[in-house]
Amino acid sequence: MPTFGTAELLSLLPFGCPLLGALVVLLMDPFLVKDRPKLPLAYVGLASMLCAWASLGFLWGDRTVAWSGALAIDRFGLFLSFAIITVGALTVFATTEYARQAGIDCGEYYALLLTATSGMVLLAMANDLLLVFLGIEVMSISVYALAGITRTRQRSIEAAMKYFLLGAFATAFVLYGIALIYGATGEIRLDRIAHHMANTSLLAAGLTFLVIGFGFKVGAAPFHMWTPDAYEGAPASVTGFMAAGVKAAGFAAFLRVLVVAFGAGASSPEVSVVWTDLLWLASAGSMLLGNLAALAQTNLKRMLAWSSVAHTGYALLGIVAGEGRVGAGSAAALFYVFGYSFMTLGPFLVIALLSRNGEDFETIDDLAGLGQRRPLAAGALSLFLLSLAGLPPTVGFVGKLYVFRSAFDGGWIYLTVLGVVTTLLSVYYYLRPIVLMYMRDARRELPVAVPADWTTHFAIGLTAAAVLLLGLTPSGYLDAALAGVLSLR
């Protein structure tokens, strides 16, 4: 009879706290006064996120596994959980006014944000394929519902439907891949799969299915079709959460599965060739397609969606470069995803800040004149866009620099050149909104700030500070990313 110690119970906290918070929120909701802002729910959500956040601090340390090896408590998972929980906490806390105006200020909105965060953290900590599957599903099912939460708005519900259909399709690929990997090895624990002599062709087939499924989840070309529609249609607060959280969690599981179970140290090294080939193609395709399609967009949310496809390509480039050797490339990818989650959350928070009565402020032309009317919002948005474009002194620059350097060192010269060229291309569409904000007069009446916006202002300030801080003093976080990747072995 296995016994469970305190350490194992503590390991549940990072995803248990948000889940508990979600239950409390749902129980509290009926007892609140109708037609009043549901601030208590947001505060309960925030409190549960802070508990989860604090628990990461205790658990930080050398790698251990809990629950018969199902959960890994290591720096890798905790590092990305830190970003995920921060994103979740900022979304819950900062979008209350947006949610009230959009008519989604209900228990379900906060509860779904919390369950989605719980699934993401589970995904980042999962050490066997069953928990990877459960994490993906807890996250995805919550996010499908969130994307369509403004259910009377046609665009929102259409986005949810498209996201759901492709997401469920991808889930089936993940499950079939897991089944084949289990068939080849008889194991679902990632570290045991690595040390198992297996039927290589079955394993390679399973891995291919798994990579396709994950490719859908993180929005890598050619499996990115849902991304622009889902990002454009979903309410801005949800889009920011999806862009930052879902991507970070998806990459956490993606990296962990590839490095731990199918990395160069595994007993079937041939399979690492399979995923390297698949991923470099996906990386090149995402960088090209994402950046080219973003050039033509007139809608800010849709442009950011295509840019997220492009950024998936850059992160994948890091993973590809990490193949074969321990460290640099995977660490660069990990740092990139970590930084990306902040710089992509920011613009969506600004959109949420400027939106009124559930109509998202999302056309690029509408931004004209924002620099004079709302200097702080315009400044923050400019900072986020510069970071996405990869200009110093922001985290986008440092992240891209490390990814490109590790790719170059790894011998992926053409892919690095493609990355640099597409980055230069991307500067055009990131600078266009900035030019409009500062050099044109307003075409329409711009929304004025109201006192209830202070939480959004606060969160934007925090996110902007993170983007700058990570860009100016990245070394500590880079070391943490490297320690995270090394803790996988």
Binding site: A145, R155, L165, Y176, A179, G183, D229, G233
Partner: protein
């Protein structure tokens, strides 16, 4: 009859039929059913492999992993289809259509 290879071939066929259904059919309800078929193909493969691994005396695997996995998958699939149908109902109320080709507000 129920050999490993037969079961795996059957599950691969189910998966292919499901994938074809999602790609080719123009009715969201049928697409949902096709996704369920794909998930059940995965379940069948898991069960078949589970039995296979249990039948090898030298294997460390106890053969229960696959069974437990399938139970979890069934719960998850039920939750997933519940959300999917809810979204579909909300969509139908707005648009009176179940044809994914008519979902064209978002494009570009």
């Amino acid at each position: 009859m129920f050999t490993l290879s037969n079961c795996i071939v059957l599950s691969a066929l189910l998966f292919a039929i499901g994938a074809y259904g999602v790609v080719a059919r123009r009715n969201i309800l049928v697409m949902l059913m096709s996704v369920e078929l794909m998930l059940n193909a995965g379940n069948l493969a898991l069960i078949a492999f589970s039995r296979y691994h249990a039948s090898i005396p030298s294997s460390a695997a106890n053969g229960l992993t696959g069974h437990v996995f399938v139970l979890m998958t069934m719960v998850v699939a039920a939750a997933e289809v519940a959300v999917g149908l809810a979204i579909l109902i909300a969509l139908f109320r707005n648009r009176q259509t179940v044809d994914p080709g008519e979902l064209d507000l978002l494009k570009g």
